[in-house]
């Protein structure tokens, strides 16, 4: 029988001060759970009580939820698909009762553009963040757990690519794409350079974890490397991965916005960066058309603030060192 780390450790992560990863408690095999778990409080109440202690997470989630509501309610209120396209409204209109956020020079109505663009920013971020983190996790675990030549190769590749300015490489990749760019292709372009940091950090975490007693026990019990990685190491890294994922989403959104603002993003569906590209192209700043760049700017600020707060909140769960005193 293979013992699982979760069988031998407390479910509460990060009880000791062993760094940024929630280390499992090296308890006696088959030992009883601490008394506090014997009288389990209702899950909702525990969650709410915890959220009270973690206002940054609450604030971040509220902002992100607000953005989700913005596009959900907006799409429900108006035909955003038709009204966000060029020629759907008179050009260069200031915000008015008819055009709430005004129109741009090509005749796009800017409120529907924002309603359409916001979920696309999420989509690119989530997709690229997920793919980047997935690749980083696989490579990080492989390098950290197996070590040796594999570690040298993967680590070397990540270290080589890390100092290269990602945006410069992304510009080259995006400008050589021959097919029409879509949000999904864009996400994969961004993801292609979003795996190095997760690889390095996860490798470092795995290096410390693989020496712990519960991993040793699992190994002695005959668990395969696959089993140890997926059943012992990965569950213990989940809170850390969650916090990393939010950061990765933020980084991916930033990279995609950079490409879009340079005119290298998808041009045929409204995105925040594309709106900024055209506002720069037509000199909206110079011409005093604040409504053109103002809307995307507000959404971008909210999006990054929300992601930052959620990442900070999750970091508190994952990393006890930054946990505030209760």
């Amino acid at each position: 029988m293979v013992l699982r780390a979760s069988d031998v450790s407390s479910a509460a992560p990060g009880r000791d001060s062993g760094g940024g990863v929630p280390p499992p408690v090296d308890g006696p095999v088959g030992g009883e759970r601490p008394a506090v778990w014997a009288h389990r409080e209702p899950r909702l109440r525990v969650t709410l009580l915890y959220l009270r202690r973690n206002p940054r997470l609450v604030a971040g989630l509220t902002i992100l939820l607000g953005l989700v509501l913005f596009w959900q309610v907006g799409s429900w209120l108006m035909d955003t698909n038709a009204r966000s396209r060029p020629l759907s409204a008179p050009p260069d209109m200031e915000p008015s009762a008819e055009y709430w956020l005004g129109t741009d020079t090509a005749g796009r109505e800017l409120l529907p553009v924002l309603i359409q663009a916001t979920p696309r920013a999420f989509e690119v971020g989530l997709l690229a963040g997920f793919v980047g983190l997935m690749i980083g996790t696989i490579l990080g675990f492989t390098a950290g757990y197996f070590g040796g030549t594999t570690d040298t190769l993967i680590g070397g590749l990540a270290d080589t690519l890390l100092p290269i300015p990602a945006l410069a490489v992304l510009v080259v990749i995006a400008s050589t794409i021959k097919t029409t760019l879509t949000v999904e292709i864009m996400a994969f372009i961004v993801a292609s350079l979003a795996w190095m940091t997760p690889t390095r950090t996860i490798r470092a975490q795995v290096l410390t974890m693989r020496e712990r007693a519960y991993v040793e026990i699992a190994r002695l019990s005959g668990a395969s490397a696959f089993q140890i990685i997926f059943r012992e190491l990965l569950p213990n890294l989940l809170p850390y991965l969650a916090a990393s994922f939010v950061s990765a989403v933020g980084a991916a959104v930033l990279a995609s916005l950079g490409l879009e603002a340079l005119g290298l993003g998808p041009q045929n569906e409204p995105t925040l960066g594309m709106t900024i590209f055209w506002s720069i192209y037509y000199g909206a700043l110079l011409r005093g058309m604040w409504w053109w760049w103002g809307g995307p700017l507000v959404v971008i600020v909210l999006l990054f603030t929300g992601l930052f707060l959620v990442a900070a909140g999750l970091d508190e769960i994952a990393n006890p060192r930054v946990r505030r005193a209760v």
């Binding site: 020629l87 000199g283 700043l285």
Partner: protein, 662 residues
């Protein structure tokens, strides 16, 4: 430690030549830090107290100044900038150091008010030059960053706005034997920048080089047109042509817009492989020029050309020397950057502005003028825009599909949305120049029958239905194979005549049921030349005073190459039609004033119009902002001595006429 001794040692440590010993380490470090902070603060203060730099020229001069430490001790010239008598001297406060003779690899200081800074070229090389060390004009893709305008001179020049033909390096020409022979007479006096005279030897060498390498720019033209050449004397060349060719001088030897072949110095190019020779070696003064400027610096950010005081034109009295002492060409950049530089007087002229930006810039800097103060503000360029296709690819190989696409486009809406009203529609691929108007007028009856400007969605529907396409649930035309009619359009990332149209045209086509998309790739030029681009927004650069050149360059079947092969930008539509090409060949054998030319023009139109190789859209009207802070006597609608397209080969004539304000 004895404090008194320490103090004494510290004083000694400050004396020049005194070495610090380990026993004074603690105090010395403190003193070192204090001295460092003081030094840094002083440097910072000095930097902050410098007058504002006059944009690029002073910056460009810095390395040279740094390389000459001895000059730092020289008294700086601090004369006020506005005195006319100071014209030849450095005057403005920021240009205090007197101009020094330029040693190899160094750049002299030249005042801002003697420097002309054009930015943006024709939209190419956005963000930075990529041809830093390549000055081979016979290779495609070279930036228009001074060499073709200020370094190279034409044998002849033609200015379309005032219909002026001007002999320059050549004195004249004489056709003989029914346009199959030509005697070219060169001017006596022109010389290369290394002192070698410019002679018939250079002309003959250039033509032979091009004839042997048809892949070079103009190479195929020379090979096709020229049978043999003979140098009669240093100023005379006889050409024997392969066929009757009355346009030989105008087409190949006359600088206008971006075309006609430049002459290479035989003593530099001989023995070089013209396909790989870079023509750049500062130690040898390469690239050699006959023009009034020589290259002094080239990098990603800028190209600097300084006036040559030994220019043949001023030495022989042919032309007064230009007042512009330095030219700084900046690469393609976005409009807002150019607008900001224009407002701050950092540049003197910029590539075309969209009307909104032009108004905004003029509101903030009253010194900015443009071609005209009346709409459409700019000058008429030779480059009417069309939606082009690779006609050798399906479904664009079908003329009816091309017409269906043409009927789906509302040109008035393009002008309203993309150009804020400031442009005009273009029914045929010809600019609205005086010389061409009789031909355009004669084409009107045919255009009534084949209305290239018609916007008629019913006709689009009728053609598409007849061709077997059906609209799907989203209203998109779908073929029997279930595929939509995809129109993937590409165009320049930053071009005021094509880029703004991209979203508008794309949306119009989508509304008509075509699956249109657009992209703004940096390698748009290569994709169009190789046919990799299926559809693109691009202009026609051809005729200026009669219709032959556009037909011959852009629609003649001899230029058609398989998709994937670069065709040097000729017949980019890959449209192949033998009867049409035969008529064009006949037109090519007629003199421009031959009355039969009009008949052939109409005959060719009768073939071209039903085929419609590309969908006609609007003209290119280019409003170039020009700054009167430092320079005046700019070209204008009132005095169109040349057009102000500084990226074109005629730019030399503008540079020669500019006058400094102070």
């Amino acid at each position: 430690m004895d404090h008194g001794t320490d103090e004494i040692r510290d004083h000694r440590a400050d004396e020049p030549g005194t070495r610090m010993t380990p026993t004074r380490r603690v105090t010395s470090r403190r003193r070192f830090l204090a001295a460092g902070v003081a030094g840094f603060s002083a440097a910072l203060l000095a930097a902050c107290s410098q007058p504002p730099a006059p944009a690029k020229p002073a910056e460009a001069a810095k390395p040279a100044e740094a390389a000459k430490p001895a000059e730092a001790a020289k008294p700086a010239v601090t004369a006020p900038a506005q005195q006319p008598a100071e014209a030849a001297k450095p005057a403005a406060p920021a240009q205090q150091a007197p101009a020094q003779p330029v040693a190899a690899g160094q750049v002299a200081t030249i005042p801002r008010n003697r420097t002309l800074i054009p930015a943006g070229l024709g939209g190419e090389h956005p963000g930075g030059f990529t041809d830093i060390d390549n000055f081979n004009q016979y290779l495609p893709g070279l930036s228009r960053s001074g060499y073709t305008q200020a370094g190279t001179e034409g044998l002849f020049y033609y200015a379309p706005l005032n219909n002026e033909f001007k002999p320059w390096l050549a004195e004249g020409y004489q056709f003989g034997n029914d346009f199959t022979e030509l005697t070219l007479k060169l001017r006596k006096g022109p010389a290369w920048s290394d002192g070698t005279p410019f002679t018939a030897k250079d002309v003959v060498f250039t033509f032979e080089m091009l004839a042997n390498e048809p892949t070079l720019l103009n190479g195929a033209d020379v090979k096709r047109q020229v049978k043999s050449m003979q140098m009669i004397d240093e100023q005379t060349v006889n050409f024997t042509l392969n066929f009757k060719n009355p346009r030989f001088v105008f087409d190949l030897l006359t600088f206008r817009a971006d075309v006609a072949l430049p002459i290479a110095p035989e003593h530099v190019w001989k023995g070089q492989d013209p396909k790989s020779f870079k023509n750049y070696d500062p130690s040898k003064g390469w690239p050699l020029t006959t023009g009034p400027y020589k290259l002094v610096a080239t990098n990603v950010e800028q190209k600097l050309w300084d006036r040559r005081d030994d220019w043949w034109g001023s030495k022989t009295g042919f032309s007064p020397p230009p007042k512009v002492e330095r030219l700084i060409f900046l690469p393609g950049m976005n409009e807002i950057t150019m607008a900001q530089k224009m407002i701050a007087n950092e540049i003197d002229m910029a590539f075309s502005f969209t009307p909104g930006n032009m108004r905004a810039v003029q509101q903030q800097n009253k010194k900015i003028i443009t071609h005209s103060d009346q709409p459409p503000y700019g000058f008429m360029d030779w480059w009417p825009i069309a939606l082009g296709f690779n006609n050798s690819e399906k479904p664009f190989d079908d003329p009816e599909i091309r017409w269906a696409i043409s009927y789906a486009i509302n040109r008035d809406q393009i002008i309203k949305f993309a150009f804020q009203g400031f442009n005009q529609v273009s029914a045929l691929p010809y600019p609205d120049f005086a010389g061409l108007r009789p031909y355009m007028d004669a084409a009107k009856p045919l255009l009534e029958k084949y209305d290239t400007l018609a916007y008629d969605l019913k006709k689009t529907d009728e053609i598409m239905t007849r061709k077997g396409y059906k609209k799907d649930a989203q209203g998109m035309w779908t073929g029997s194979d279930g595929n939509k009619v995809s129109i993937p359009i590409i165009t320049f990332p930053q071009h005021p005549s094509t880029t703004p149209q991209a979203p508008v045209v794309t949306e119009q086509l989508r509304q008509a049921g075509f699956d249109a998309t657009f992209q703004l790739p940096a390698d748009y030029g290569a994709r169009i030349r190789t046919g990799e681009a299926k559809a693109y927004l691009y202009g026609h650069g051809g005729s200026m005073r009669e219709p032959f050149s556009t037909w011959d360059r852009l629609y003649h079947m001899r230029h058609v190459k398989p998709t994937g092969t670069d065709n040097n930008g000729q017949n980019i539509y890959r449209w192949s039609n033998k009867p049409f090409s035969d008529i064009v060949d006949q037109m090519g054998q007629m003199a421009e004033d031959d009355p039969k030319l009009m008949d052939l023009w109409l005959k060719s139109l009768e073939i071209w119009l039903p085929e419609l190789p590309d969908v006609q859209l609007v003209h290119t009207v280019i409003p170039v902002p020009m700054n009167t802070t430092y320079w005046t006597n700019w070209p204008s609608a009132k005095d169109p001595y040349v057009h102000e397209g500084f990226w074109h080969r005629n730019a030399l004539h503008m540079i020669l006429k500019l006058q400094p304000v102070s």
